[in-house]
Structure formats: structure tokens, C-alpha cells
Amino acid sequence: MSQLNVVGQSLERPDAYDKVTGGKGYPVNVKLPGMLHAKMLRSPYAHARIVSIDASRAERLPGVKAVLLPKDVPQIKFCPVFFVPVQAPSMVLDFDVMNGERVRYVGQPVAAVAAITADIAEAAIDLIDVEYEELPAVFTPEEAMAEGAPQLHDEAPNNIAKTPFFEYGDLEKGFAEADFIFEGTYETQRVHTCYLEPRVCVVDMDRQDNVTIHVTTQHLFGTREKLAFALGIAESKVKVVKSPYIGGGFGGKLELTSMEPVAALLSKKCGRPVRLEQTRQEDFITTTRNPIKVYLKTGVKKDGTFTARYAKSILDCGAHATHGSEVIMVHGAFGLFFNYHAPHQKWEGYTVYTNNMIGGGYRGYGAPQGSFAVESQIDEICTKLNLDPIAMRMQNARKQGEPHPFNPAFTLATYGLADCLREGAAKIGWEKARRRDKGSSGAKKRGIGLAVHPVWVSGCMGFPDIYEHSGAIVKINRDGTADLATASMDIGSGQIATLTQIAAEALGLPAGAVRMSSAGDTDNLPFDAPTHASRVTYSSGNAVKEAALSAKKRLLEVAGSMLEVSPADLEVSDGKVSVRGTPSKTLSVAEIAQRAESPFVQMTAQGPQPTVMEEKGTIIGLSSLAPKSNPTPCAAQFVEVEVDTETGEVAVLHAVYAHDIGRAINPKAAEGQVEGGFQQGMGYALMEHIQFDPETGSCLTTDFLDYKMPTAVEMPRKIDSIFIETDEPTGPFGAKSLGECCVITPAPAIANAIYDAIGVRFAQLPITPEKILRGLGKI
């Protein structure tokens, strides 16, 4: 790797200035002239037949401009998940925008109103009379699969939406070869991504079906495709406007919901733009991380080598499968079985309908649920067999140069797990802490824990039915700067910084000379897959690099003509093009861009003079491509906790996270991902839980007073990020991915540290003070 000038620097995020001075760039701020406000009426029942809807009282309320009922909405079923085709064969096509016959969860939209104010719209939905015939509801997957359970979808007998499985080797033989067999059932809860900007859209749909939408989305093109399908119109009719950024996503804004098509249809009815903003309560019941129950059985030799692994996972997808069709696959593959070598393996997954809220995407996408099982059980194995948890993991781990377990066409060209474990252990003082006397006196016990996430993704290259290409436009300006335009949405993830750094490095421009365009939409930007699946730095980054190199090629052609040398003899550095070996022959990028865009005929003292035709035209580079591979990052998480055995409270004192990132494009931004990821993973481990009334199915945690997440006080005082730079050959300047492993590892690491502290193993998240006290036999 030649010397890097811009990549690797912790540059200031270009979007930070606007965000500290008010923050103009969020969809929540969009106001259009004549804009109306909409609200949705939602079902109070978990399962009911809709007998009739009478909206006449609402229609008469002054200020109401339109009422939308199911009969006004195309009754089309589809998959609303952004990253797959709308009718992807591998997904379950069961989502509809507003079902006129049946509701399947508390909160399902049944009608909507547009009015001149949000207050009037709110008052109007209370005036819509819906007669329901309540049906028996079912709230757990086990009950849903039992004989005689209410059937939620005709095409899914026993409420089973999907039953994927993986199998290789001979499981019986593998277990017969084992010296020990470990079994356990591990349960994870429903949690919310808790993005802070609520879901909101402003839609203008005219009577020729031209749609313009501003929306909180992680994917412009997915919004376009799914919204067009839901409305029954051509995709090109929908223009999704790129907001400069959105207020968080984390996987929670990765599908179309009823909000966008409802606002569009109301807009068409009224002939005016319509704004629909969800309340926090509505957001809590719109998407969620699916709860999964995992039964895991592992055969091991005395030395800790795996001989066989079997797992069965039951995922509660709620009323519609949506993400649950894919989460179960990623869970099985990357949460459970690709992680480590085992000669004989089998996994069965069940995506099961219930009358709970619909699941969704959330950083890690099924892997946190699997990793909690695997890494908890490995800790148990190491404890029982007195094995070193680091050495045991390395013994079963994959090795650099091996074929990728997901797709043998890819190799593990870079794989820095050993370095992650070694450096992480050194940082937290692992050896010393493991040998420490826990102390029999005192109420507070300290413990240390480890969890690894050995195989993950850099995007979705090679996954069935999943989009994975990116595009970029790089344009060199006459002042020597460059503009970068991509459809990749910055959801807090930092690509406004990292992608502009990649472009500057590829172009040979100084730090700060590339600006991310804040304008654009699906009409004029090339396709990019969503901001999800740890993909942006690697996949979008490769596309940005390619577009920048294409612009640079043209830059050198023009410069070559100007300097009368071959472009091959030129190099660009710090915004200057020079002839190799002749530093005196230099042009600034600005001079070259000015020449390229100057008038062909120039007036001189001698009269009009034509210039060189080959030098003319804006210097621009375009790309649209899929990445070459899907390199795995890997990570090791160490935590130290203190358990108060009187109150059951757990304090996380120190977290160390080591991650094979390939190359850190902007180390400070990368640390931010890790520190925020730990907050989400720690919340999952200790406190976060969307709870429902078990009788009615209505959500009980509808605001941040009831739904607890870590504040600055609960967070550890020290979070150390260690980035192992393995220089991935297929990545932009060696980069792989970062965004999700740091959310996957905290929960099992914390659970293992709690075991180390008090000798009690918890197999159900979250590990609340109440569970700790029960585990200690104190209540």
C-alpha cells in the first residue's frame, strides 16, 4: 500500500457544522406550500375481522380534506423490505398497506385522514367508526404452531411462514465422536432500534400519478421500488428525494410501511402535499428486532474441538413476515454456523406468525440472537472443561486463506481474529483478571467476559435475491475541488466523511477538497443498495473510488494535452498534477478543470483562436458496480462488570473491542460506531425490552420512560476501540466493514462476565436486576 494522505485521518465530519447550528437537513424539517397533515387510525385489537367502517362523521369535521379507507388502497401483497426485489421469490409476500378485511396486530392501520392541521387529523380519526368482530389471538410462536391455534395467513399452515435449514456432514456420527455434549436454550427479547428522528414523510402525488417523496429512509431506491408497487404505478413515476441525512436508522428504516403509500394516496385525493409523522408510540410498534429462541447442542472433544453442532431457532415474526424471512437466514448462517469450524452441522429455522407487532431490521440482523447462544455456550464449555476461552475459540476458528464459508468463490483473504484476541486481551488485562480472587466478602463482585464474532459480512455480495451494487458520480470543479454524488444515505453512519475521504485519496486531492452533494434524488443519482449490512465503506466505497479514478483518468488526459506529455507520465498529489521526475512541470487541478470547461474558441489580441478539442468537457467520473467479494470482518469483545449482589444491578466498568476493519478510513468516526454499538448491545444485554400486555397484545413500552436504554450514567467510563488493519485486497484502500459486529458481541460478553462474577449463567435477555436476584436465590 502506497502512502495514504487522506484515508486514515480523523477528519472533521463535514455534516457536523450544520448539525450543531440547528440541523436543517432532516426530512422532519421539510415543509411544502399548501401541505396537509395526516394521521392513521390503528386497530385496537390483536386479531379481528373488519365488519364495517363508517367515516362520515370524520368527513364532516371542518378542516378535514380527505379520508382514506382500505377500499381506496390497492389490495396488493408484497415484500416491503428495501434490499430485495418487491416480489423476491425467497421472501414471503404477505405485507399489505391497509387490509380491508382483517387486522392481525394491535396498531395495524385501518384508515387515515388528511386535514389542514395535525390536530384536526387526530380528532378526525377518533370519529371514524369501525366495527370489528374479534378473533382469537395468539402471542407466542409455540402456541401459534400448536394444533388448534388461530391461523393467521391461509398460505401458512400452523402459522409457519418459513422453515429454512442448513445441513452437512453426519450429525449422529459427530455427536458419537464427542467426549462431551452441551445443550442449552437461549432466548432473546424484542427490542427497538430507537432512532431518534421519528419516521416521517412528506409526499406530493399528482393526478397523473407523479410522486415526489421526502422520507426518513435508509434506501432511496428501495423506497422508490416498493412505494411504486404499493401504489400500482410505474417505478419511474416515483421520485425519492435524498435528504442530506436522517436522524438514525440502525436497520429500523429499512422497509416501506403503511405511512408512505397512505400519505401518497391522501395527497392524490387532495391535490396537495401531505405530511405524515409517526408518534414515538407508533414507531415502537412499527419495526423491532425479532425475538428468537435458540436450542443449541454442541459436541466437543476434551480439548475443546467441536465435533458436531445442532441448532433449532424459532423466530417470532409477528403478524407479517417482512424481514423475518431473511433475518432467520442470516441468523442461522452468520449467527450460528459459519462462525466456527465443525465437521458435522445442522440447523433448522422457523419463522412463525403471531399476533404481535411486525419484526424488522436492526444492526446485526439475526446474528445477535445467534451469537448470544453460541458465545454463552462456548463460555460454559470452557468453564466445565477448564479450557482457555481464547485458545479454544482460535482452535475452532477459521483461518486466513480458507474459502469463505458462505461462498467458496470468495476467500478469507484477510482474517485478523488472532490479533483481535491478543490485543484486546492485553488491553483489558485478561490473564490477570481471570486469575483474580472474586472475593467472598462484600456485596459487589467483579467479573470479566469475552465474546467473539468471527464471521460477518461487508455487504451482501453473493446473497440470493439481495441487491448489492453501488454507483457514484465524481465531478471536478473549476476551483480544484470535487463534488461527489451518491444515493447512499448517511443515517449517522458517517459516509459523508468516509466516502469523501476515499474520493479525495483516489483523486489525489487534499483533505476537505471533496464535498458530498446534499442534493439529488432517484431521478438523477445512480442506484445504490441501502445503508445496511455493514456495506457502505466497502461496497459504496469501492464505487466511489472507481468513479474518482475515472475522473482522475480524464483529468490526466487533459493535463497530458496541456503539458504535451503522455498521461501515463503524470501523477496527482495534494491537488497538483506533475510530470514524474520533472517536478517543475506542474499544473493545479483547478487550472486543468478551467481549461477543460473553457470556451472552445477564445478571443485573443490576434482574434478568435480555437483551442484543443480533446481538452474540452467537464471532468467527470461515473461508476455503477458490484463489489468483487464479501470479505469478513471479525471482532473480539472484552468487558469487565461489577454485579451488586444486594440490588442485582450490573455496572459495566470497562469495554474493549478489537475489530479487523481492513483499514480505518476515519478512525474517530470508526470509534463512534463502536461506542454507539456498545450502547445498543449493552441495552440489549441488561435492560431493553418491548413488552406487551399478554391478554390484549397491546404495547406497554410506548415511550422512553417505559423503554429503558443506557444513558451516559450507565455506560462504562472506558470504551477502548482497537482496529486491526489487515489491508483487504478487494476493499477501497484496504477497508472492510465495521457497523454491526460491535452490536453483536456486547450481550454475550456481558453475560459471560456476569457468570464470571457471580457464577450464575443467564440464558434469557435482558439480564435485569430481578433476574440476577432470582439467579442468586435472593427473591
Binding site: V20, Y245, R280, A712
Partner: protein, 154 residues
């Protein structure tokens, strides 16, 4: 039912007719047109809407605007004077404390309250001082750094 109200917001005096049930947040965003105070939960749980009323930080989403006649309101937009960033704003940028940025304006107003009351806070005071404000991106680490930095620089 509306009530007339005078609010001084970031130095500008506004005469407003506000609905009796309109929150201060709603008036600042929808009637005055500010972006800094943000709606995250509308129930006093996240702190994105934090502004100062007569120098004290409040959750503007749980305050009725009509009860604030004659007060001075400061939002993130009012922190800086002229083109210079306020030291807290500059520290948030320099420390890398801004990710999605949706919590940032409210978080800075909480930080300002803390630094007004306690110009040299230790880490525990900082963490408690911003504990009424949620952030989902940063894990608060760089926000704590930013508040320390702002304190050191002033």
C-alpha cells in the same frame, strides 16, 4: 382557543397567538420555524427538544407555550453569536461528538446548563448532567469528551 404570547427567542421578540394545548416545542418549530429543538418522543423522555427558558434547560415538548409569556428562550441556533461557533458547538464538532446529529442540539443545551452551573465539571458530573438526554449513535463517549473540551477551553 388561543392566547396571545410574547416570546423572546434567540434575541428576537415574537408576538404569537398560540393554542392552549400547544407545547413550547411546537411553537418554536411550527410557528417560529426553528430546527434546533427537535421532536424525538414528545413525552419528555429523550431530551432532543431541550431549550433554555430564562437560562434554565427545559424539555420544550412537555411545556405548554402559553405559560411562558414574556420569557427568553435560547435554542441551539441562539448559542453562537455571529459567525463564530459557541465553544460548546465547536467542542462537539472537534471531539467527533456528532453522528446522526438528531440529539445534538438538545444535548448541547443540556451541556450548557451544566457548564453554566458548574464550569469545571468532573466526568461524573458531566455524565449526570447529560443523563436526561438520550443518544443512540455515540455511546456518549465523545459527547462527554466534548463537554470536557468545552469546559477546558472556556
Amino acid at each position: 382557543m388561543k392566547k396571545m404570547l410574547t416570546l423572546e427567542v434567540n434575541g428576537d421578540v415574537h408576538e404569537l397567538a398560540v393554542e392552549l394545548d400547544a407545547t413550547l416545542l411546537r411553537v418554536l418549530r411550527d410557528q417560529i420555524g426553528l430546527n434546533g429543538p427537535k421532536k424525538g418522543c414528545d413525552s419528555g423522555g429523550c431530551g432532543c427538544c431541550t431549550v433554555h427558558v430564562d437560562g434554565k434547560a427545559v424539555y420544550s415538548c412537555v411545556c405548554y407555550a402559553h405559560s411562558f409569556d414574556g420569557v427568553k428562550v435560547t435554542t441551539a441556533e441562539g448559542l453562537s453569536s455571529g459567525e463564530e461557533l459557541h465553544p460548546i458547538q465547536a467542542a462537539f464538532v472537534d471531539a467527533g461528538a456528532v453522528q446522526c446529529g438528531y440529539c445534538t442540539c438538545g444535548m448541547m443545551m443540556a451541556a450548557k446548563q451544566l457548564l453554566d452551573d458548574c464550569p469545571r465539571p468532573d466526568e461524573e458530573q458531566i455524565r449526570h448532567g447529560i443523563s436526561g438526554n438520550l443518544c443512540r449513535c455515540t455511546g456518549y463517549a465523545k459527547i462527554v469528551d466534548a463537554v470536557k473540551l468545552a469546559s477546558e477551553r472556556s
